[in-house]
C-alpha cells in the first residue's frame, strides 16, 4: 500500500530530520536515537513496539479486579467490619498509584521511544476519542483504554479505533452509556429505565462527523437507541441484549437493527459512520490542524481526505498522505506544543529520557502539577472535546509563567554541565533566530543559556 501510494503521489517531499521529529514527534535528543525519514517511521509503526513489554501496564481485567476490591471494602466499611477502613485506604492508595504510574508510563514512552510519531499518534487519537478521568474509577480504566483501545489500533483502520473506543469500558463509563437502557427492552420495561444520549451525541459531534455536519437531533436519538446494550460488568464491556432497545433505527437515512438485539447492528452503523464523507473530512482536518497548522491549507486537508476515502479509512495510508504532503516539510512554528509535549521534549532535549523512568513519585507529582499550571491536566481535560489546538489557548500570562518557572528549574537542576551552544544545534532545526543563538551563548552560566533555549518561542512552538 505504501509503495502504491508513493508511486501515485509522485515525489515524496523531503522532510528534514528535525521537522520530522519535532512537528510529528516529541522532539530531538542528544542521546536518544530518532528516525530521519518518513518511510522508516511508517515501517516502524507497523512493527511490534518493544516498549509494549518493557513498560507494560495492568490489563483492564486487573484494574476491574482492583475496583471490585474497592467496592467490597466500601461495603465492609458500611457494615463496620474490622480493618475495613484501613483496607479501603490501602486499596484507594494503590488505585492512585496505578493512575500515577499510567501517566508516568505515557510520559516515559514518549520520552524514550525512537518513534515519537507513534507516541504523538497515541496522544492524538486519545484526544479525538477523549475519556476524561472525572473520578478514580474512570481514571483507572483510562490507563487500559489508552493502550488497549487506542495504542493497539493506531496502525489499523479508523473504524477499528472507533469501534474499540465506543465499546471500551472507560468510554462507556465516561459518557454514561453503560446505564443507558432501551425503554422497550426487557430491562427497560421492568425497571422503568430509559435512554441517555451522551455517548451517541459525542460520537457524532466529536469522534467522527464533527459538529457542523449534517446529523440531526433525531439521528442522535435513534443512535442512542441503537447503542443500548453496551454494558459494563465484572469482565468489563459486554453486550447485554436485555437492555437493548428492540426494533429498527433509522440513522443518517439508513436503517439498522431488527427484532433481535445484536452487537453486530451497532458495528454496522459504526462502520458506515467511519466511511461517511463528513467523517473523512473532519478527521483529515483534525490531523492537519493538530500536526501542522491551526489553519491548514485546503489542499492538505483534501489530500488526507482523499487518502482516507480511497483507502477505506486505512490509517497508515492516511498518515503517509499527511507526512508526504509538502506542507509537512515547510518551516515550523505555526503550532504551540501542548504542555505535555513541551515538558517531554524539554526532558528529551536535556538527555533525561531515561532518568524520567527512575524519578520518584514526588518528582513525578511535581512535573504533573507543573503541567496543570501550564493548563494541561493529562488525561483529565475539562470536557469530552479534549485539548485545544489553538496557540492562544496555551500561551497566556499565567500559563507562560508556568512554562518559564518549570523550564528554569529544569535547566538549573540538570543543566549545569550542558553547553547550550552545542545543544541548540542538536535539538532545534536551522531556522533558529540570530537573537536566540546569541542569547544562549551570552549568559553568565550554562544553565541560564539552557533556560533561555527551553523558554524560547522556537522551542515552545513546532
Amino acid at each position: 500500500m505504501l509503495i502504491y501510494l508513493r508511486a501515485k503521489l509522485g515525489k515524496i517531499m523531503a522532510i528534514s530530520k528535525p521537522i520530522l521529529n519535532i512537528r510529528f514527534g516529541y522532539g530531538l535528543s542528544p542521546n536518544e536515537p530518532a528516525f530521519d525519514n518518513v518511510a522508516d517511521i511508517l515501517a516502524d509503526l507497523k512493527k511490534a513496539d518493544p516498549l509494549d513489554n518493557k513498560l507494560a501496564r495492568p490489563s483492564l481485567k486487573e484494574r476491574i479486579n482492583l475496583y471490585e476490591r474497592l467496592r467490597k471494602a466500601r461495603r465492609e466499611e458500611k457494615q463496620n467490619k474490622s480493618n475495613a477502613t484501613r483496607n479501603l485506604k490501602v486499596i484507594r492508595k494503590k488505585m492512585q498509584q496505578w493512575v500515577a504510574e499510567d501517566i508516568k508510563a505515557f510520559m516515559v514512552r514518549a520520552a524514550i521511544s525512537k518513534n515519537g510519531f507513534r507516541e504523538r499518534l497515541v496522544a492524538f487519537w486519545a484526544d479525538n476519542f477523549t475519556v476524561s478521568g472525572r473520578n478514580l474509577e474512570i481514571m483507572l480504566a483510562n490507563g487500559a483504554y489508552t493502550n488497549e483501545a487506542i495504542r493497539a489500533n493506531i496502525g489499523g483502520k479508523f473504524s477499528d479505533l472507533l469501534k474499540a473506543s465506543a465499546t471500551h469500558t472507560a468510554m462507556l463509563l465516561f459518557l454514561d452509556q453503560h446505564v443507558s437502557i432501551g425503554p422497550n427492552s426487557v430491562a427497560g420495561k421492568n425497571r422503568k429505565k430509559g435512554l441517555n444520549e451522551n455517548l451517541a451525541r459525542e460520537i457524532l459531534e466529536l469522534h467522527t462527523m464533527g459538529v457542523g455536519a449534517s446529523y440531526t437531533q433525531v439521528d442522535v436519538r435513534e443512535f442512542a437507541k441503537l447503542l443500548t446494550g453496551l454494558s459494563v460488568g465484572k469482565e468489563g464491556f459486554h453486550f447485554n441484549p436485555r437492555i437493548s432497545e428492540p426494533g429498527k433505527k433509522t440513522i443518517l437515512g439508513k436503517t439498522y437493527g431488527g427484532a433481535k438485539p445484536n452487537l453486530r447492528h451497532i458495528f454496522q452503523f459504526l462502520d458506515d459512520l467511519a466511511m461517511h464523507p463528513e467523517t473523512a473530512n473532519h478527521i483529515a482536518k483534525k490531523l492537519a490542524t493538530h500536526f501542522i497548522s491551526e489553519n491548514p491549507s485546503k489542499h492538505l486537508v483534501a489530500t488526507i481526505k482523499q487518502a482516507y476515502l480511497q483507502s477505506c479509512g486505512d490509517l497508515m495510508t492516511i498518515y503517509e498522505a499527511m507526512l508526504t504532503h509538502e506542507d509537512s516539510a515547510k518551516p515550523m512554528g505555526g503550532k504551540v506544543k501542548w504542555p505535555s509535549e513541551y515538558v517531554i521534549s524539554a526532558i528529551r532535549a536535556l538527555g533525561l529520557g531515561n532518568e524520567l523512568a527512575n524519578v520518584t513519585a514526588k518528582d513525578l507529582r511535581n512535573i504533573h502539577s507543573s503541567m496543570i499550571l501550564m493548563g494541561q491536566d493529562l488525561f483529565r481535560p475539562a470536557g469530552p472535546d479534549g485539548w485545544s489546538e489553538k496557540a492562544s489557548y496555551w500561551i497566556n500570562p499565567p500559563s507562560l509563567a508556568a512554562r518559564i518557572n518549570w523550564a528554569g528549574g529544569l535547566a538549573f537542576e540538570y543543566g549545569q554541565e550542558l553547553d547550550p551552544r552545542i545543544l541548540i544545534s542538536q535539538v532545534l532545526d536551522d531556522n533558529v533566530s540570530k537573537e536566540l543563538l546569541y542569547a544562549v551563548g551570552d549568559t553568565e552560566s550554562k544553565w541560564e543559556g539552557l533556560a533561555l533555549l527551553l523558554i524560547s518561542p522556537e522551542f515552545n512552538r513546532r
Binding site: N196, E205, D363, P398, A439
Partner: protein
C-alpha cells in the same frame, strides 16, 4: 557548583504550589472601566438544568416528567413565589432573595438551536452572536470585549483577565490582562530583560510575557493565604481574587464554573456545581464589602436541559434555560421572563423548555444601565441583530 549570584531564575523544579485541577472550575477573566459600577459574568459550563435550579413546582405537569429527580418540598427546595422554588443547594442565597439581591430570567436561550453542542453553545454564548446554527460573528470575539471597546478611556487595565485559559467572552480588539490566583513568576530584572529580547519577534509570547511580568510584581498570587483558599474551594478562590481586583481598578470580571452537564444521577451531581456557584456569589459579596451595592452578577449557561428526565436519573441537552442575577445593584426578588408552560405542546420540539426570551436581552438590559451604553450600540455591536424590545429593567 558555582551558582550565579545574579540568578536568572529563582525558582526550581519543585515549585511552591500545586493544585489538583478540578473539572468544575476553569479560570477566570477580569476587566476595568472608569465607573464605580461593577459587573461579574459567570459562565456556567455544561448546560445548567433550569428546571432543577428554579423548580416550577407549582406547574402540575412537572411531576409527569420527573419521577426520580425530586423537586419542591420533597427536595427541600426553598419557595420563592408560590410557583417556583430554589434548589436547596442554593439555599445559602435565600437571604439575598429576601433582600432583593437575587433574581432570575427564566425560559431564556441564546439564538443557537437544535445541534445542542456544549462547545458550540458555549462559544456562541460568549460571542453573543445571532446565527441559529451557532456560527460566530465574523470577528469571533467576545461580547464583553466588544462592550469594553465601546467604553471611553478604556485601556489595558480596563480589561483584566485572570486564569490559565482565556474566556472567549473577553477576547477581541480591546486589550485584556489575565492572571490566575495560583500563578507566580519571580524573576530578576535582568532575567526579564533577557526574556523580553527573546520574545520580541513573537507577538503571542511577547504580550503574554509582558503581562506576566507586570502582574506578578503587582499581585500577591501565591501568598499562602491564597493557596489555602484554593484548596478550600476553587470557586471561592476565583471569586475572592476577582473581588480583590474589583476593589481596585477593575470593574468587570468574568470566570466560569463547570460541572453542569448532568446526564446521570443529577440529584447527586448537580449539588457540587451549585455549591460552587453559591460559594462564588457569597464570596464576592463578602470580599466586595461596600462595593457589593454597586455590583451586578450575571450567571449564564449555554443551554438548558430536557424537561423530562432521561433513563439514567439525569437530563440530556436541551434549549430553554435560566439566567441567575445577583448583587446589590439589581432589582431582585423577581423572576423575569414569561413562563412557557410544561404541556407537551408548549415545549420546544416536544422536548425542551420553550425559550420565550433571548438571554442576550437581559445581559443587554444590565449593561445599558450599569455602564450607560446606548441601546443602538448594544443592538448592533455588542449583540448583533438583538431587538431589546421592552426587555425589563433589571438594574436599580
Amino acid at each position: 557548583m558555582s551558582i550565579s549570584r545574579r540568578k536568572l531564575l529563582k525558582s526550581s523544579l519543585a515549585f511552591s504550589c500545586s493544585i489538583a485541577a478540578s473539572p468544575l472550575i476553569t479560570p477566570m477573566v477580569l476587566a476595568s472601566v472608569p465607573t464605580n459600577n461593577r459587573l461579574v459574568v459567570i459562565i456556567l459550563r455544561g448546560g445548567m438544568d433550569a428546571l432543577d435550579v428554579l423548580q416550577p413546582y407549582g406547574d402540575k405537569n412537572l411531576s409527569l416528567y420527573r419521577k426520580n429527580i425530586k423537586f419542591g418540598e420533597a427536595a427541600g427546595a426553598h419557595d420563592l413565589n408560590g410557583f417556583f422554588a430554589l434548589n436547596r443547594h442554593l439555599g445559602d442565597l435565600m437571604p439575598l432573595w429576601k433582600n432583593g439581591q437575587l433574581a432570575f430570567a427564566n425560559a431564556v436561550a441564546t439564538p443557537y438551536r437544535d445541534k445542542r453542542s456544549h462547545f458550540d453553545g458555549q462559544d456562541f454564548l460568549e460571542n453573543g452572536g445571532f446565527a441559529k446554527n451557532g456560527s460566530l460573528t465574523s470577528a469571533s470575539d467576545g461580547w464583553l470585549n466588544r462592550m469594553i471597546s465601546l467604553m471611553p478611556n478604556s485601556n489595558i487595565e480596563t480589561a483584566f483577565s485572570v486564569g490559565r485559559q482565556r474566556l472567549l467572552l473577553l477576547e477581541g480588539q480591546a486589550k485584556t490582562s489575565s492572571w490566575s490566583p495560583d500563578s507566580s513568576l519571580d524573576l530578576s530584572d535582568e532575567a526579564k530583560r533577557l526574556l523580553e529580547k527573546l520574545f520580541k519577534k513573537d507577538q503571542l509570547f511577547a504580550s503574554a510575557a509582558k503581562m506576566a511580568f507586570d502582574l506578578s510584581g503587582k499581585i500577591d498570587g501565591t501568598a499562602d493565604g491564597n493557596m489555602n483558599a484554593i484548596r478550600a474551594s476553587k470557586a471561592e478562590a476565583l471569586a475572592n481574587f476577582a473581588a480583590q481586583r474589583l476593589n481596585e481598578e477593575t470593574r468587570i470580571a468574568a470566570f466560569s464554573i463547570g460541572g453542569f452537564d448532568t446526564h446521570r444521577n443529577q440529584s447527586n451531581n448537580l449539588p457540587r456545581a451549585l455549591n460552587e456557584l453559591s460559594s462564588a456569589i457569597l464570596t464576592l459579596k463578602k470580599s466586595l464589602g461596600a462595593n457589593w451595592d454597586k455590583t451586578t452578577i450575571l450567571a449564564m449557561s449555554e443551554f438548558g436541559r430536557t424537561v423530562a428526565e432521561n433513563g439514567t436519573n439525569g437530563t440530556d441537552h436541551g434549549t430553554g434555560g435560566a439566567m441567575l442575577m445577583a448583587g446589590g445593584a439589581i432589582k431582585g426578588a423577581k423572576i423575569y421572563g414569561k413562563w412557557a408552560g410544561l404541556d407537551e405542546s408548549d415545549l420546544y420540539q416536544r422536548r425542551d423548555l420553550m425559550p420565550t426570551g433571548d438571554i442576550r436581552s437581559y445581559a443587554a438590559s444590565a449593561i445599558r444601565d450599569i455602564f450607560s451604553i446606548e441601546k443602538s450600540a448594544i443592538e448592533s455591536t455588542i449583540f448583533p441583530s438583538l431587538d431589546m424590545g421592552n426587555v425589563a429593567k433589571i438594574i436599580i
